[in-house]
């Protein structure tokens, strides 16, 4: 009875109806992880590895 009157759809149904990309964009902590990991890998870590491989002058 309560289900019929409740205007809110079931939570699991909500999740299924939301497209994957929107769920990604609705997850601030996943975006935070990506926003740190991608530049950390391509800019910082790759760059440090390259500089560290430069031979030190005698």
């Amino acid at each position: 009875m309560a289900e019929a009157d409740d205007p809110r759809p079931a939570q699991s149904g909500d999740d299924e109806s939301i497209p994957l990309m929107q769920r990604v964009l609705d997850n601030p902590f996943l975006l935070l992880f990506l926003g740190i990991a991608v530049p950390a890998l391509t800019y910082l870590i790759w760059g440090i590895i390259e500089i560290a491989q430069v031979p030190i002058a005698d």
């Binding site: 929107q22 964009l25 609705d26 601030p28 975006l31 935070l32 926003g35 740190i36 991608v38 760059g47």
Partner: protein
């Protein structure tokens, strides 16, 4: 013991405003404007010294002023204002209480103390290492300590923002996805975390090195990681001011984004790729491979540029769609002609958009190309570029939203409305001149950060072309105009906050907006139409300018670097 959160209801938007968040927004915005005034003062000293006919300061004072100018306007003014934007875009737009206001105040105090410590260190005269503070130049330990404290305070502000997103979702203060303006602010906060972590990685060891506790810091590693902070901090600005463009379009016109999905994907491109633009500072470093340079400044970076071009189309496009819906539907540009050009929130925002795109955006892409970067690397072209992005783009957008925040958050009526109407034009024209003339001088080879371009006391004489001196003079005149615009802003805003008429609790304030537009800023949803022929013409003009300028630079490179 939990304390009840106090709210008031905004008579314009109907949004609940957490009073703790409101106090923090006010505090951060006020301190931001104080540092804008201080940094602007140092800026005019720098411009008057670089103007050969004036040449105001002796060399040691010039480098002191340049250090203070960079520090106060590139970092302190901007980050304080961004923290205010983060609290506005989370607690206010999400109808929520602010998470952990006591932590937010602790972060604020750390930022104030840090900014003061670093400023004092600079003014004492033994830390004139400029904003970049490249090692092996050594500043006083307090220079680095102040920056570290400031960064920790800003990091706390970012996490209060993320905490507020969690609180708002848990307490169901909004439906569906967060509004686009909040999403843009979240993008800024994510980039801020990367920025601050990069700063901590390099500034903490440099602080210890300044005490002699670490024997040396590798200059190239320092430069690489420092720019992870130094340039990314300017990408926080880009995300924040784009969010503000959307906010003003929504507040003034009731404009909704043409497509929520497309605009969010553009912000996602920022989150993933905007920070790596830092690499263009490393384009002449021999220790890094072409693969690293080209991937970070071209292949991946262009995805972030694509994001900016999407925003550059969807922001005016959303305004056009809203204006056409409101009846301004004749011809290509009635929507733009009949826009409220006397409303400083709109004019500031639109000038910011135009100058960021045409001056800052195009020059940024040109500088990011490894080959043509060589024409202008480390010349005055670089400050010309970032005065277009950070000053004409970000600062003007922040000024524009301030004209909305004074009545909505400070609950004061603006004073000197005539000045307020003129201010974005005076400041915008001045800064556009700064940017163009510095880029012009840089193209003629004038180096950045140089005290005397006449080389009066050099043992080997060198003459720049006469046009370079003309450019520096025009830059000085533009700086006077920008200073006047900045002064008008400070007088109007500070005067309004202290002496403006207090607005009643239920008193609506006119923002020059269309009726009922206030709610659009806090809701999710796309525009009903994508019929935007006027914007399509503007975008076509932009692309033609972009392509022409890009190829002119290749032509220029071929002339100064002949191949036979």
């Amino acid at each position: 013991m939990a304390t009840a959160t106090e709210f008031r209801t905004c008579p314009n938007t109907g949004l609940k405003v957490d009073l703790a968040a409101e106090r923090l927004i006010k505090a951060n915005a006020v301190v931001a404007i104080v540092f804008l005034a201080i940094g602007g003062l140092f800026g005019i000293l720098v411009a008057f010294t670089r103007w050969p006919a004036v040449h105001l300061l002796p060399a040691d004072w010039f480098y002191l002023a340049l250090t203070a100018h960079g520090l106060d306007v590139l970092l302190v003014w901007i980050i304080f204002f961004e923290i205010a934007v983060l609290y506005f875009a989370s607690a206010v737009l999400l109808n929520s209480r602010l998470a952990a206001p006591k932590f937010a105040w602790a972060g604020f105090v750390l930022m104030v103390v840090g900014a003061l410590i670093t400023n004092v260190a600079v003014l004492q005269g033994d830390s004139s290492v400029m904003f970049t503070s490249y090692v092996p130049m050594r500043a006083a330990p307090n220079f680095y300590l102040g920056l570290i404290l400031f960064a920790v305070g800003a990091l706390i502000g970012c996490f209060v923002f993320f905490g507020t997103l969690v609180v708002a979702k848990a307490e169901k203060t909004y439906e569906g996805s967060i509004p686009l303006v909040t999403f843009g602010a979240m993008t800024a906060a994510i980039i801020a975390v990367f920025t601050i972590v990069s700063g901590a990685i390099i500034l903490i060891p440099t602080w210890l090195w300044s005490y002699g506790l670490i024997p040396d810091i590798d200059p190239v590693i320092y430069k690489l990681i420092w720019w992870g902070m130094g340039h990314s901090s300017q990408q926080i600005n880009v995300s924040a001011h784009v969010a503000i463009w959307y906010a003003i379009a929504a507040l003034v016109f009731g404009a909704k984004p043409l497509s929520e999905k497309v605009s969010r994907m553009a912000f996602l491109m920022y989150i993933l790729f905007l920070q790596i633009a830092s690499a263009h500072h490393m384009l002449v470093e021999p220790g890094l491979s072409s693969e690293w340079k080209i991937f970070n400044t071209s292949y991946a970076m262009y995805l972030a540029v694509l994001g900016s071009m999407v925003h550059g189309m969807t922001v005016p496009g959303s305004i056009e769609a809203a204006q056409r819906k409101n009846g301004y539907d004749r011809g290509l540009f009635e929507w733009l002609r009949k826009a409220p050009w006397g409303n400083p929130a709109f004019s500031g925002m639109f000038l910011s958009l135009l100058m960021f795109g045409f001056l800052g955006g195009i020059s940024g892409v040109v500088m990011g190309v490894e080959q043509i970067n060589l024409i202008m690397h480390n010349t005055l072209y670089v400050p010309g570029h970032f005065h277009a992005t950070v000053v004409a783009g970000t600062t003007l957008a922040f000024m524009a939203i301030t004209y909305v925040l004074v009545p909505l958050i400070f609950r004061r009526e603006l004073i000197l409305k005539g000045w307020a109407r003129l201010q974005p034009y005076v400041f915008g024209i001045g800064v556009a001149g700064n940017s163009l003339f510095m880029m012009g001088a840089g193209t003629l080879g004038v180096s950045r950060r140089h005290w005397d371009i006449s080389f009066a006391d050099a043992s080997l004489p060198f003459d720049y072309p006469a046009a370079a001196f003309l450019m520096m003079g025009l830059n000085g005149i533009s700086a006077i105009l920008a200073m006047l615009g900045g002064l008008m802003f400070v007088i109007v805003v500070v005067g309004s906050v202290f002496f403006g008429r207090k607005l009643g609790a239920d008193e609506k304030v006119s923002l020059g907006e269309v009726a009922g537009s206030g709610r659009a800023v806090a809701s999710y949803g796309s525009s009903d139409t994508i019929k935007i022929p006027g914007t399509a013409v503007l975008v076509a003009i932009f692309f033609i300018a972009f392509v022409l300028y890009y190829f002119v630079n290749w032509k220029y490179l071929s002339e100064i670097w002949p191949m036979s």
